[in-house]
Every structure is written in C-alpha cells, then in structure tokens.
C-alpha cells in the first residue's frame, strides 16, 4: 500500500473555456493535515470536488487511497468524509435526527447508530442540544455538527472545504484541536482555507491561484525559501513612504501594521537592508522572520516571484517584472 493518501498528476478541470484547475500535481502523505491556501475562486473547491469523485477531471490522473478516480468513486465513498463549504445537513431536522440519518445511510444498524451518535454528540459538545433543529444553530454549532456527520463512518481521508469561514476565533481553535485529534488517530485531512493562521497549522500546504499551484511544502520550508527579505520600518508618515516604495522595482510588496511598515525586498537586490535604509530617511529598520502571509504575497498576485514549483508556462508576466 502506498504511503500517499492522495497522488495526483496533472489534474485539470475546465468549465467551458475557463480553466478552474490547471495541471495540478499533489502528493499528500497519509496521516497528515494538508492545506489548500488561496483566495476565493482559485480552484480549491473544484480540486476537492474532483478528489471526492463529485467532479470528473478534464484530464490528469487522480489516485485517492490507492484507488483510481473517477472509476472507483463509489467504492471510496465509505472511506472518505466530506464537509461541504455550505452547511449541507437538513435545517428542519434536529441534531440527533441528522446524525442518525447519516449513520443509517452509511449502513449502521440501530444499536451501532445510537452508540456512535451518542459518542459524537459528547465529543463535539452537542449532547445538550441534540433535539434542537439544525437550522437554529449558531455557526460554530453547525460546523461541529457538520464535522461530526463527515467523520461518523470513521473515514480514512477527510475533506474539509473552508470549514471555519462562518466561525469565531475561539471556535476555530477548538475545531482545530478536534482536527489534530482525528489526525492523531490516523486520519488524513485535506482542508481548504483563506486564513493564514489556519494554513500555518497544517503539516504541509499548497498555495493556489487561478487554478495553478504557486508553491507547496511545509509552512517552515515555504518561509525559508521565500524569494525576498522581510524588513520592518518604524517611524512617521508611513503612508507616503509606502507609496514611494511601491514604485521601486526592488520592492515586492509593502503592508502597514500599525506604526510599522512591512517591506518585502526581492532576494536579487544586493545588500537589501542597506538599500532600504537609503530609502527611508533615517527611520528605524529591523529584519524580521517571514510569515506565511509574506509567502502568500510573494508567490501570488502581480508581484509574484517565480517559486520553485510554479509552472514555467504561467511565468511570462512575472518574468517581465523580474528585470
């Protein structure tokens, strides 16, 4: 048995002329939490739908848990769990009724179903509300119910499509605790997000933009191989400085954080710190540790540096900017 839960080569999906996912390669080891990071419309959901067998790839090879898709989609249903982006359980059924329904759909008998539902209600702190209709739950409760439903049949592989988009930070932390519990028990998890802090929790992640994988690796690797130096400038009148710096070809991006301005200077620049010092009229400069957001900024959008995994064909516009 392969130690890859997901092995994808050149997976592509077109909707008409629009290419939603463009020759995506993915190797996700078993027992890890893997993240898809990217803005809305970057192909995260489309990729997940292809990996769950709900969409047929236009081209490319997809192997999930050692089985080829789309041929073995039905056989995989029992081994994968899928939590959709939009709440997809029944609003006019109670929490318990929803879970019992899912249990029966997965073929549990009534005793197994009762035990498993009780177990999940306790695990996700829903037991006090089990008779409440799902439609009247808060965002966090709905999300826990959806996770309970997606994991009810003990899937080997769990897909979560932007699971925390309607949830407050406290509930998000709690949610991630549950994900690490599942991962610890051997479940491979693929989660899509547009939150940096969530992406940083993953063992490894892929940054997607316009259906193209711009970079992938563990958060630490990505930060280490960032194609820029991260410097912070402290002082007054940062708005003017920001607009000045944005004009310089050496600067990849700038972002203000309160009284500081975070500047990404391209690696090609010689002596980046000295170069920047010359631009900032005696304001204080400090080199800081890159964050995932810096990585994201560096490899997406118009500033994009060519990263190790970005595809050559899509680099033409970025190539011009390298100068």
């Amino acid at each position: 048995m392969s130690d890859l839960a997901i092995n994808v080569r050149q997976m592509t999906r077109c909707f008409g002329k629009n290419i939603a996912v463009d020759h995506l390669d993915l190797q996700i080891p078993r027992g890890t939490i893997y993240g898809f990071l990217g803005p809305n419309g970057c192909g995260k959901s489309t990729s997940i739908r292809m990996l769950t067998g709900l969409l047929t790839p236009t081209s490319g090879e997809v192997e999930v848990l050692g089985q080829r898709l789309p041929q073995y989609a039905e056989a995989l249903r029992l081994r994968i769990g899928y939590m959709t982006q939009k709440f997809s359980l029944y609003d006019n059924l109670s929490i318990r009724e929803n879970l019992s329904f899912v249990a029966q759909i997965y073929g549990l008998n009534s005793r197994q179903s009762r035990e498993r539902v009780n177990e999940l209600l306790a695990l996700y702190a829903l037991d006090k509300r089990q008779t409440q209709l799902a439609g009247s739950l808060s965002g966090g409760q709905k999300q826990r119910l959806a996770l309970a439903a997606a994991t009810l049949h003990h899937p080997n592989l769990l897909f979560l499509d932007e699971p925390t988009s309607a949830v407050d930070p406290e509930n998000r932390r709690e949610f991630w605790e549950r994900l690490f519990d599942l991962c610890n028990a051997g479940t491979t998890i693929l989660v899509s997000t547009h939150y940096m802090d969530e992406a940083e929790r993953c063992h490894a992640l892929a940054i997607l933009e316009n259906g193209i994988k711009r970079a992938d690796g563990s958060p630490a690797e990505l930060m280490a191989t960032l194609g820029a130096h991260v410097l912070e400038v402290e002082g007054d009148d940062l708005r003017t400085l920001k607009s000045q710096l944005t004009q310089c070809p050496q600067v990849l991006s700038t972002a203000q954080l309160g009284t500081r301005l975070r500047v990404l200077v391209r690696d090609q620049t010689e002596q980046p710190q000295q170069w920047l010092q010359a631009q900032v009229n005696g304001r204080r400069i400090e080199a800081v540790r890159p964050s995932l957001e810096d990585v994201f900024v560096a490899c997406t959008g118009q500033h994009s540096v060519s990263s190790a995994t970005a595809r050559a064909g899509s680099d033409s516009e970025q190539g011009e900017r390298h100068v």
Binding site: L54, L55, R77, T84, Y90, N92, F101, Q104, G107
Partner: protein
C-alpha cells in the same frame, strides 16, 4: 484503524438507506405544518367545492322576454317554458332591438320573442291545430323565436332543447302519448346526477396535482438547499434515493383517496360498487405513476420554480384531456394520443369503472398494466438521469 464493516450484505444496507430516507422525509413533512395541512385540505375543500359547483345539467338560465302578443296563449306558453326549469324569465323587454342590446350587455343569456301575430301563427301550426290541414310548408312558421348568446355552447344546447314544446295542452287537448322511436335504459347512474361521475374523476385530478407536486420538488429542493452535495458523497444509490422519496407520499396519496371517496359517499351518495381491494390496487398504481412522473420532473428541473411550472404543464392536459371534463371518445385523434400518454386518463377509466360499474381489475388490465409500466420506466429514467456527480 477502526472501520465499519457492516455492509457485508448489500440488501440489508440498501434496506437501511431506503428506510433512512423514508424516515427523514416523513420527519421533514411532519415539521412542515402548511404542507401537512394541505394534504388534508386540498381534497376536502376541492371536493366540497366541485362536488356542489360542477353540474352539467343546466338549469335556471337567466332569460328575457319580449311578449308583443300579450294574449292568454302567450302567457300560457311562457308558463310552460318556465315549468321546464331550464330558464327563468328575469327581464321583460319591449322590442327585439332592446332584447338584443341586453344580450350584448350580458344581462341575460337568451330571450324568448313572441310576435304580435302569435294567435294567428298558432292557428296554422300543425302541432296546435291538427285540423288546419297540411298546407304548403312555406306558409308554416314557428310561433316564436329564441335569441341566444351562443358563446357558451352548453347553454345554447340547453336552449335548443326548448325548441319543441308540445302544444296540445295549449289547444285544450289532453297530452298525446308519444311513443319514442328508441327506448333508453340507463345503467349505473339512473338519476343522471353529474356528481356521480365527477367525484371519481376528481380523485384522479386531485391525486395528479398533489402527487406530482410533492415529488417534483423533492430532488430539486435538496439541490437548491445544498443538501445534495453531501448526499451524493455518501454511499446512497440513485434508485434507493428515488424509492425513499416516493414511499412516504404513497401514504399521503392513500389518505387523500380515503378522504375523497369517504366524503363522496357520505355527502354526495356516490356509490362505491366495486371491490375496495380492486380500488386500492388501482389507486396505488396511479399514485406510483404520478409520483414517478414528479421524480422525473425533479431530475430535469434546476429550481423549484421550474419544477412547479412543469407540474402545471402536466396538470392542465390532465384536467382537460383525461376524460374528466369532456368524453375521451369525442376528442380528435391527436388529442386522444396525448390523452393516452397521461397517467390520469388511465386511472380515470379505471376508477370510474370500479366505482360506478363494479369492474374487476381483469376488465381494466390494459390500463393497469400501462400504469405499472409507466412507473417502472419512469423510475428507471429518473435513476439514470440522477447522477452522483456535480458535472
């Protein structure tokens, strides 16, 4: 790692999944008070309404009168006409022109015109004066005239039935017994009450409407509300989903059959001559066929609104072409072909046969087989059309 190994017997797994969907549908239905109420109210209200309202023997048509003769003969003719109960003279006009204006305005549907020379006309009319000698037919004239708003053919036909009035009593003779050419013996509905024909017909119409409506929304609703993406990622099979969606509404259909035939029997004295078991089989066949038709719509429609529009598209011909309103035999051939394609037509024949004529399933086997085949074909079509894919 722990994994459930409960699907060793695929039949048990299938049974559990169908049962899960049935229970879920019933729970959702029970929570939807409005829909739940409609299950009972639709047949109840519509039966009461149509049972009393629809009547094909036309009586008491508002009519006008122009009596230029003002004689004892004219008064007696008017009384005889009114005694038929077909028309009520509600207005009197002075001239034919005035009467015509009244018909145009819609005040009355028909006007009886009695000319000034009524006495003279009567005296030469062979039905009045048997001794007048059969003179040249050109001199023979009717004694009066009906002016009729011909727009409504049912009313016009009723007035036409007043063309011949026996004039013997008017002439002071006892009514002569006319021996008819043919004698008519009426089976099954001796009093000729239209409600006896309408109640079983309404059963077909109401079931068509409610059954198709319930299931036409069934799949689309799950898609619209976002439940479908989760459901198709589970091991549920298309046919299991289809059957699970149909079964709860079979019960609903049977409740409606009970309400309609029960009230029809109690309030309108519609006999149920045939066997109840035969009736149950026929009703079940039709309920399944209608629900399947709804499912087919549901797999084609993209929104609930579209599903509703398609339901109405099926409902109209079911009312007008199924034999509910107009006899099947009187329709042109093309209409008959369309009519044959509608489940309602076949059930209409079956239910009238069973309720009114005590027909056996054997007598109705063609319609029964047709409904069964329609159900199986429709289910297969819906299950094939339903893809566990989003593309």
């Amino acid at each position: 790692m722990f994994e459930y190994r409960v699907n060793s017997n695929p039949l048990i797994a299938t049974w559990r999944r169908v049962a899960a969907i049935v229970v879920k549908e019933i729970r959702q239905l029970a929570r939807d008070r409005m829909t739940f109420g409609m299950i009972v109210m639709i047949p109840l209200v519509q039966l009461l309404l149509f049972g009393y309202a629809i009547n094909t023997d036309v009586r008491h048509i508002p009519a006008g009168l122009v009596d230029l003769s003002q004689s004892s003969y004219s008064r007696e003719l008017i009384a005889m006409t009114e005694a038929s109960q077909t028309v009520d003279f509600v207005r009197v006009y002075a001239s034919a022109q005035e009467a015509e204006q009244a018909i145009i305005r819609g005040d009355v549907k028909a006007v009886l015109y009695l000319p000034a020379d009524l006495g003279q006309r009567l005296s030469v009319h062979p039905a009045f004066n048997r001794d007048s000698g059969h003179s040249n037919s050109q001199t023979l004239q009717p004694v009066g005239q009906w002016l009729v708003d011909g727009g409504d053919t049912v009313i016009a036909a009723s007035i036409r039935s007043l063309r011949q009035l026996p004039l013997d009593t008017l002439a002071g003779r006892t009514l002569k017994d006319n021996v008819p050419t043919f004698e008519v013996v009426q089976f099954f509905n001796p009093e000729q009450r239209s409600v006896v024909n309408i109640v079983p017909g309404l059963l077909a119409i109401i079931l068509t409407m409610t059954m198709i409506m319930f299931t036409s929304a069934a799949i689309v609703r799950e898609r619209e509300q976002g439940n479908m993406e989760f459901l198709i990622a589970t091991p549920v099979k298309p046919m299991e989903l289809m059957i699970g969606k149909i079964v709860p509404y079979v019960l609903v259909g049977l409740i409606q059959v009970g309400i309609i035939l029960g009230i029809g029997h109690l309030l309108f004295s519609v006999p149920v001559r045939g066997g109840l078991l035969t009736l149950l089989v026929a009703a079940l066949l039709f309920i399944f066929a209608s629900l399947t038709l709804g499912l087919v719509i549901s797999t084609i429609a993209k929104t609930q609104l579209q599903a509703m529009q398609m339901t109405v598209f099926i409902l109209m011909p079911s009312i007008l072409l199924s034999g509910f309103m107009f006899p099947y035999e009187a329709m042109p051939q093309l209409a008959q072909v369309i009519s044959e394609a509608l489940p309602a037509t076949h059930f209409m024949r079956m239910v009238r046969g069973i309720v009114l004529r005590d027909a056996l399933l054997w007598d109705l086997q063609r319609d029964a087989l047709w409904l069964a085949a329609f159900t199986l074909g429709g289910l297969a079509f819906a299950a094939l059309r339903f893809k566990k894919r989003l593309d």
